[in-house]
């Protein structure tokens, strides 16, 4: 097993646990963390799988850089909205009753 593949496999584990977290966790802050876990998992797979033969590939590396920035943007928005939600309701969990 190469190091690249190991990264990819770790990425799979991270992604899976991240998804489970986003689905299961109610607390918004922790859910945002779970989302980041998920994103990191995908990035690891992207970089690791492409470099499974141990030669650096700049293309997925650049893609991951782009992906990270996008994830940062999403995280910032999520935090801002969580904060607003907290300010409005005092809660950090979404409840069922604000559904229509």
């Amino acid at each position: 097993m190469t190091g690249g593949l190991l990264f990819a496999l770790t990425g799979v584990a991270l992604f899976a646990s991240g998804v489970a977290g986003v689905v299961l966790i109610d607390n918004l802050l922790r859910r945002i963390l779970a989302f980041n876990l998920m994103g990191s998992g995908a990035f690891l797979v992207l970089v690791g799988l492409a470099q499974r033969n141990e030669v650096a590939d700049p293309v997925p590396q650049a893609m991951v850089l782009t992906g990270i920035v996008v994830a940062v943007a999403a995280t910032a928005l999520a935090l801002a909205m969580t904060r607003k939600y907290h300010a409005l309701t005092g809660r950090l969990e979404l409840t069922g009753d604000d559904n229509d």
Binding site: L24, V59, Q61, L65, V72, A73
Partner: protein, 217 residues
Amino acid sequence: MKRLAVTALATGFAVVLVEAMLNLGPAAIDLRIPVRENLAESGVSHAVTAVLLNYRGYDTLLEVAVLLLALVAVLTVTDEADVAFPHMEHPVLQTLARLATPLMTVVAVYLLWAGAFRPGGAFQAGSVLAAAAVLLHLVGLLPGWRSPRLPLRLGLVAGLLTFLAVATAMLARGALLEYPPSMAGGLILLIESVLTVSLALILAGLFLLLSRDEGPS
């Protein structure tokens, strides 16, 4: 019940995926070769920067848009009132922060310049600058942001607008973002420099706009 089901599904998914990964042959296409072959024309000598700002510069253009969008989005969900100004009067920390800031600026400039031939570039440089701003804010030397005024707004959008302007200017002779090899280096440096400033402002803004408590802290 739901917890169990989701966990089981996620685990199952991971197992299937791992199994499939372990049985994978070589890829049909190897982009490393064209990346290397065209490096001379890309204007930079570092492969990742070449991909980021030249081969796949369009991704980066959109990514800057995503960041700016995130800033605007954060603006829409923050209220105008209540700007935080952490009342931290810790002289040691403040002095350290004052010392660190110029140092970080230098690092940022180095990163920007280094990006052409080794890991580095506008994003890294911008992040370091933004970190400096956050540091200053946390020790109470820089207030949180209100709705940004015109000069600040100009700084925020300058990066995207410059990038966009250069990208579309290339349409005159070919495709979007098709730098002439002779000018590629200069154009990329121009974009990166402006981007550094804008990205620093945006990243700092994402923090400084959110850093506002209800009432004085």
